[in-house]
């Protein structure tokens, strides 16, 4: 098959990266599972990022070797002049691994139509949850700004919902630790999820600098392949995966107990990059005017391990 054998391991490399609090990435799992060992690939944790885009700044400055952010931020960063390559989707949504919009049990809100004029918390505007809500309204024939969105960081999601400071808490698929905690404490019910609205879609990407990928094609390839393998393994062995993720969180100084709420990466087998994963966002951002039409040549920004191999 396409996977390399340890014999090809001629490009040992230590990838510096910034993990995001409360979430793990396939490549972290791959390292724990020992997939990188034969190739001399290591990961070096440089500390937590405050959010995905910060990893992109650090990547641009050369402080780390891989960034990881929501698709919209990745595309904007490339449009802004960064020569980044999309390596693989770090997570995605599908049934069971999805963002959920919760209300309190006794809330009068039952359907998407009831959201009109209500306050919904999201992690940030202009990104995944924001678009999910717009799309939901669009499908019901409502204007895109029918509800009031406010930004609430993860740790305050439950508190603000229960204190009725917001009507609806939107909890991203990448924030399942908060969602799990919320459900475990009871008294809430879901209204809808992002897969109801968007179908299956990648959520964010791991990216390299192009010059790095060109300088270390093999290391980059083994990195991506190992991550894809780890994602497949996690999908096939969810119980074991939760245990490993728990340990991983513990080792990062986080609460490993929260791993029991972990749902998986939500990726397709082999963690492929589909046209829709990128295309959906190119269209959405162009419509908004934030991304000038034609600024992004989708095929030119995707790292292809196969071609890297061909380059050898």
């Amino acid at each position: 098959g396409t996977s390399a054998s340890p014999a090809d391991a001629s490009d040992p490399y230590t990838f510096r990266f910034l993990p995001n609090r409360g979430s793990v990435s396939p490549h972290e799992l791959a390292e724990v599972l020992g997939y990188y060992e034969p190739y001399g690939i290591k990961l070096e944790n440089k500390g937590f990022a405050g959010g995905g885009p910060e990893t992109l700044f650090a990547l641009a400055g050369g402080s780390i070797d891989l960034g990881s952010a929501a698709t919209s931020a990745v595309l904007n960063s490339i449009a802004g002049g960064n020569d980044f390559l999309i390596a693989y989707p770090s997570n995605g949504i599908k049934k069971g691994v999805e963002s959920v919009f919760y209300v309190l049990e006794d809330s009068p809100i039952k359907t998407i139509e009831d959201l009109k004029g209500k306050t919904i918390s999201v992690n940030t505007l202009g990104a995944h949850l924001d678009y999910t809500i717009r799309e939901a309204f669009h499908q019901k024939g409502l204007p895109p700004k029918s509800a009031k969105l406010v930004v609430v960081p993860g740790p305050q999601l439950e508190q603000t919902l229960r204190a009725k400071q917001v009507d609806v808490a939107g909890i991203g698929y990448w924030q399942t630790t908060f969602g799990g905690q919320l459900e475990a404490n009871g008294g809430v019910r879901p209204i809808f999820t992002d897969t109801d609205v968007l179908g299956e879609l990648a959520g964010g990407f791991v990216v390299f600098r192009r010059d790095f990928a060109e300088a270390h094609p093999k290391a980059a390839r083994y990195f991506v392949e190992g991550a894809a393998r780890a994602a497949d393994w996690a999908r096939e062995n969810p119980e074991e995966a939760r245990k490993v993720v728990g340990k991983l969180l513990d080792s990062r100084g986080e609460d490993g107990g929260l791993a029991k709420f972990w749902l998986g990466f939500g990726l397709q087998p082999g963690a492929p990059i589909t046209d829709r994963d990128v295309g959906f966002w190119v269209e959405a951002l162009s419509r908004e005017g934030t991304l000038p039409a034609g600024k992004i040549n989708v095929s030119g920004i995707i790292f292809r391990p196969a071609s890297a191999k061909a380059g050898n």
């Binding site: 959010g51 995905g52 885009p53 992109l56 700044f57 641009a60 400055g61 952010a69 919209s72 931020a73 990745v74 904007n76 960063s77 802004g80 002049g81 960064n82 918390s121 940030t124 505007l125 202009g126 990104a127 009031k148 969105l149 406010v150 930004v151 609430v152 960081p153 740790p155 305050q156 508190q159 603000t160 204190a163 400071q165 917001v166 005017g289 934030t290």
Partner: protein, 281 residues
């Protein structure tokens, strides 16, 4: 023309008298010199930025050229929400600043004058002062909710302390001989405050006002990180989160411009109020 030539010869000869024909150019040059001596560094900095970005000495996706920022600013003002953001942010900072002034100046005058009050209040105020508004989010949200109140309070919290400390410091630097004089002339505590302590502490209070006004604007970013969907601080973080760097810098520059305007206003006010002094402010 020939008359002017004669005039300018006269000027060249005695080197002091200035006559009609020469004046505009000369005063223009002088004005330009003054302007450059004041704003030269700033202009140089902006030029350096622009050139560094265009020449790719720095990463232009993080340091966009100034025209990109200007374009994003224009779009943000005309089509986007920057104008509304400006309005709401001004309101938040303004209310917080006014509240901070209303509390800190009287409290500071009081604490600076009356040792017992200072002794009693100092420990708890110091404790509060040492506590980051950012760290106390959960507490603020719990107690004050997600609305305007908590945002204004976060700003207020950070804004009050520089002013309070400066005011107390200013009061302690007031010449005790003047306070004695006022007391001998029968001034009540309040009159000593108003007529001696307050004017004497004014220069320090103004330093505090400038620090606090800046703080009120800087804290917009922290305060609008939660429960917000508009405001300049929100725009900065949101644009950063979505990697819309030109928009981010538009909002940052707008915030900085507000800060400069506030600073300038306070300095003007100080010049007016402290006209008796011949020290340049």
């Amino acid at each position: 023309m020939s008359v002017q030539d004669v005039n300018s010869t006269v000027v060249a000869l005695n080197g002091e008298e200035e006559t009609g024909g020469q004046k505009p150019l000369q005063s223009l040059l002088e004005g330009a010199g003054r302007f450059l001596s004041r704003y030269g560094l700033l202009i140089g900095f902006l030029l350096l930025w622009h050139v560094a970005s265009i020449q790719r000495w720095v990463n232009p996706s993080v340091f966009p050229p100034l025209d990109d920022i200007a374009a994003a600013f224009w779009r943000g003002m005309t089509q986007g929400s920057l104008l509304a953001d400006l309005g709401i942010s001004l309101q938040r900072s303004g209310i917080a600043f006014v509240a901070a002034v209303a509390v800190a100046v009287p409290l500071g005058l009081f604490m600076g004058q009356i040792r017992a009050v200072e002794r009693a209040l100092d420990p708890i105020l110091q404790l509060f002062r040492q506590t980051s508004a950012l760290a106390l989010y959960p507490v603020f949200i719990l107690l004050l909710g997600l609305g305007e109140l908590s945002k204004v309070f976060v700003i207020f919290w950070a804004t009050i302390f520089p002013l309070l400390l400066s005011t107390i410091g200013g009061v302690k630097e007031v010449d005790p001989k003047l306070v004695e004089m006022a007391r001998v002339y029968g001034a009540s505590r309040l009159q000593v405050f108003r007529r001696v302590v307050l004017p004497g502490a004014l220069p320090s209070i103004f330093v505090g006002l400038r620090l606090s006004a800046t703080m009120a604007l800087l804290m917009l970013i922290a305060s609008e990180m939660i429960g917000a969907n508009q405001g300049l601080g929100f725009q900065v973080m949101n644009a950063q989160f979505n990697f819309q760097i030109p928009l981010m810098f538009s909002a940052i520059f707008l915030l900085a411009a507000l800060g400069l305007a506030a600073n300038y206003t306070i300095v003007l006010l100080q010049r007016r109020l402290c006209r008796w002094s011949n020290a340049p402010v």
